[in-house]
Symmetry: C2
Subunit: 303 residues, 2 copies
């Protein structure tokens, strides 16, 4: 049975889009429940400017107060050296903070809008972040947003993604996550981009980060699996709206991914029933329905 | 460019699940808007007992008053000879009523619950319906519900589906629609059932009827396409709840199917923008959000 790695991004990518304030204590309970469900890789929060994303202004507090019994890989998004300086002291007492996440994008306009610099400048910023991570024994995970479609430029040339993935791997990333940020891609486009990437990169060094905005995410996961990809990002309940399509769903829901992998015969270590307890918990805090179709269909059966 | 046939089931399979009463006039406007969008095959209503399904008690009235300029294949679900007697006079003045739809299921318990007879008895009922249809120059379309999972029996043996499909084709069906009635199937199971079927049946005589209850429908369409299936059922907006999972979505949304086929490079004749005008119209009548992810993402852009 082939083993798949699931990287849960709900506590960061999901909650940063929520308008209801979520307390530090509730964020900690959510993370604990997700680890209980068997998730071994979780993006916990981000060291972005609290002004830019007030939802994650409590990042240091969450990490400081978080206590988890089981071992897992916790990652923290770090945009620059300043963020790294805030994070490093915490890693000394919190061994679960094993991973630093850095992100760029395959579209210049998106990178300018999102992080106010060019793609090249974003990579230069990461050089120092990555060196600090390596010197402190931390793993580095890379993201490439808008690897298929850009909300400003439309379809992105797959040839732009490959050199970025190689650069991130050369900088020390153990894995690069290829993002369909606005969820417009279909399996044909997944095949175009991932075929090009896997022609020179081991597919085990790549992850698929698919959004379900147009309902294509599961079909895209299946296409990536066919090309040997063994790692996928997803978000509890499907948390994480898409700012370019109000009301539309964002990240692929972890429940939908787990249901699919279970029934397709892949091993992944996550228990759907326990996971849905985490979903129920966070649903009661964000005060809206969860986009996850599997959660909607099965929530009545949570034991 | 490979051509795909879409069979729109919203006016029947969708509206029969709605609690808000929809007027005859509104049903007619919906059908007209769907035909305007380019749909060439539509299931219009059903000749079931008005006591069993009050939502479709106006079936004869809808067909009588419906006027459509463009040509299309309209089908009507006919459960028995009595239903056929109600339908036949209408076919004399309404040339768009070209097709009779009959349905059975691959699970005995479901058939008993759904149409109060055994699978064998349901097929015997269809003999006279099919003979009447043929004698009156009507096409016959067959459905096999619960071809993958049964809400009472769980996983259905694929070997039960094959003889039913052959029997329906022998009775004169031009196409048999293979239904994942509760939406639990994943591509692996689509492959099992359709590989068995297409080992002896031309895939052009089969259709996929997938529900999106667990978010698997598009991945299932893709799998069926790989096996040569060229016809799919879907419902405008995703109308048609699943009675076994309250609140969960039912039929694959036509918008999601059209988006997928457009971007995968298949020809189908439906215009997504015009289709979404039909979706907006019926949304205003059923008074709830449409499950279609594509409609949710794009409804702001309807021109």
């Amino acid at each position: 049975m082939k083993s798949i790695r699931i990287n849960e991004v709900g506590p960061r990518d999901g909650l940063q889009n929520e308008s209801s304030p979520i307390s530090v204590e509730d964020k900690i309970v959510l993370i604990q429940k997700l680890v209980e469900a068997g998730l071994k890789s979780l993006e916990l929060t981000s060291m972005v400017s609290p002004k830019a994303i007030p939802q994650l202004a409590d990042a240091q507090d969450v990490l400081n107060k978080l206590e988890v019994q089981s071992s897992f890989h916790g990652s923290v998004l770090v945009p620059n050296e300043k963020g790294m300086e805030r994070l490093l002291p915490l890693t000394k007492t919190k061994p679960f903070i094993s991973t630093v996440a850095v992100f760029t994008a395959a579209s210049e306009s998106f990178t300018q809008q999102n992080i106010r610099c060019s793609i090249e400048e974003s990579l230069q910023r990461f050089e120092s972040v990555c060196n600090l991570a390596k010197n402190n024994g931390l793993r580095i995970r890379g993201y490439i947003s808008t690897s298929f479609y850009c909300p400003f430029e439309g379809r992105v040339d797959p040839a732009k993604v490959l050199p970025l993935a190689r650069r991130l791997l050369d900088m020390g990333c153990y894995e690069v996550s290829i993002g369909d940020t606005i969820g417009k891609a279909v399996p044909k486009e997944i095949e175009e981009v991932f075929s090009l990437l896997t022609s020179v990169i081991d597919p085990n060094l790549l992850a698929g980060h698919f959004h379900d905005t147009y309902g294509m995410a599961i079909a895209n996961v299946e296409q990536a699996l066919r090309l040997g990809v063994t790692s996928f990002d997803s978000s509890v309940g499907g948390l994480g709206g898409c700012p370019y399509a109000p009301g539309a769903s964002g990240n692929l829901a972890t429940e939908d991914l787990v249901y699919f992998l279970d029934h397709m015969g892949f091993d992944h270590g996550v228990d759907l029933q326990t996971l849905m307890k985490a979903t129920s918990f966070i649903q009661s805090k964000v005060h809206h329905a969860m986009p996850s179709k599997v959660f909607q269909a099965l929530r009545g059966s949570i034991k």
